[in-house]
């Protein structure tokens, strides 16, 4: 009994924090995205007055939208996502006209892309709904279709690894030595990233399936897979030949 009473204030605090977690998460994500990608436009000496004003103004809906999540979710999305993005795009368009974007370095660009990904995830449904509201919501209203089974824990790891591998692919073209090959490298890397993330999803989904093992478990290899593996051997031999003859 004393243990219960002692844990009550901490439980209340945790509940209060959970109720405000969506608002906090979206506020921080918007602030990070603004600091990395829009604040430099507001402080740059090359920006025009209108460009600076738009960059500063974009912070308003970004912060205000997140504060509306608990009161009016639809309005929060309109302000926090639509208006914030609209003013941000206008600020970038104006900055591009002023030639400010050309001065941004690669590191800041990549960091900015990451910040906007975090912003998108922070606002994604149903995370942006307050946890208390989510608990009260009727089943199926907030979570869409229910999964028929839960995937194993490592399936999530596979999906995360796939996303990390895809992101690494997208980072590779930034290190191309010849600028004239940059666009081609980006196109190839994007293709690789899409292929990797799609295949990671396939592996994760397959890992979650329940298989009926009848008798001795078999490897998923048939004639077509063997043919593809023979092609792989052929290409592998060519790779080795090219590698050793070019040295």
């Amino acid at each position: 009994m004393p243990a219960e009473t002692a844990s009550k204030p901490s439980q209340q605090l945790a509940r209060r924090l959970r109720a405000r977690s969506a608002m906090l998460r979206c506020t921080l994500a918007a602030l990070a995205a603004w600091i990395i990608t829009l604040m430099p436009l507001a402080t740059s000496g090359r920006s025009s007055a209108l460009g600076r004003t738009l960059a500063v103004l974009s912070l308003g809906p970004g912060i205000a939208g997140a504060q509306l999540i608990a009161r009016n979710h639809r309005m929060a999305r309109h302000v926090g996502v639509t208006a914030f993005l609209a003013v941000s795009v206008a600020a970038w368009a104006w900055a591009s006209k002023d030639g400010v974007l050309a001065t941004l370095d690669i590191f800041r660009s990549m960091l900015g892309a990451l910040a906007w990904i975090v912003f998108a995830v922070a606002w994604s449904h149903p995370w942006s709904v307050g946890d208390e509201d989510l608990a009260r919501a009727p089943e199926g209203e907030t979570s869409g279709l229910k999964p028929r089974r839960r995937p194993p824990a490592y399936a999530v790891g596979v999906a995360v690894l796939g996303a990390a591998a895809a992101l690494s692919c997208l980072a590779a073209p930034w290190f191309v030595t010849e600028p004239s090959r940059g666009v081609l490298a980006h196109a190839v890397a994007t293709g690789c990233a899409v292929a990797l993330i799609t295949s990671a999803a396939t592996v994760a989904v397959t890992a979650g399936r329940e298989r009926k093992e009848e008798g001795k478990p078999r490897l998923p290899i048939d004639r077509r897979v063997v043919n593809t593996m023979l092609f792989m051997l052929l290409v592998g031999a060519m790779i080795l030949a090219v590698f050793f003859t070019s040295r």
Binding site: Y154, S199, T206, R218, I221, M232
Partner: protein, 61 residues
């Protein structure tokens, strides 16, 4: 612990990821032929992965 089907798929996926990583590095360094061959190798590994996944599902997809 992954079962046999998932283990095979993960093996193909690892091969493809490594091939893409080295292939992109080779392309970035200007070694075009080796880079293209490595990307083709990675693509074939993913093709094998898709075919094996279809078998693992009992040919449902």
């Amino acid at each position: 612990m992954p079962d046999r089907v998932t283990g095979v798929l993960l093996l193909f996926y690892g091969v493809a990821t490594a091939a893409f990583a080295v292939g992109l590095y080779a392309l970035a360094r200007g070694v075009d032929l080796l880079g293209v061959l490595l990307l083709v190798f990675g693509g074939l590994a993913l093709r094998a992965l898709t075919q094996a996944a279809r078998l693992g599902d009992g040919g449902m997809r």
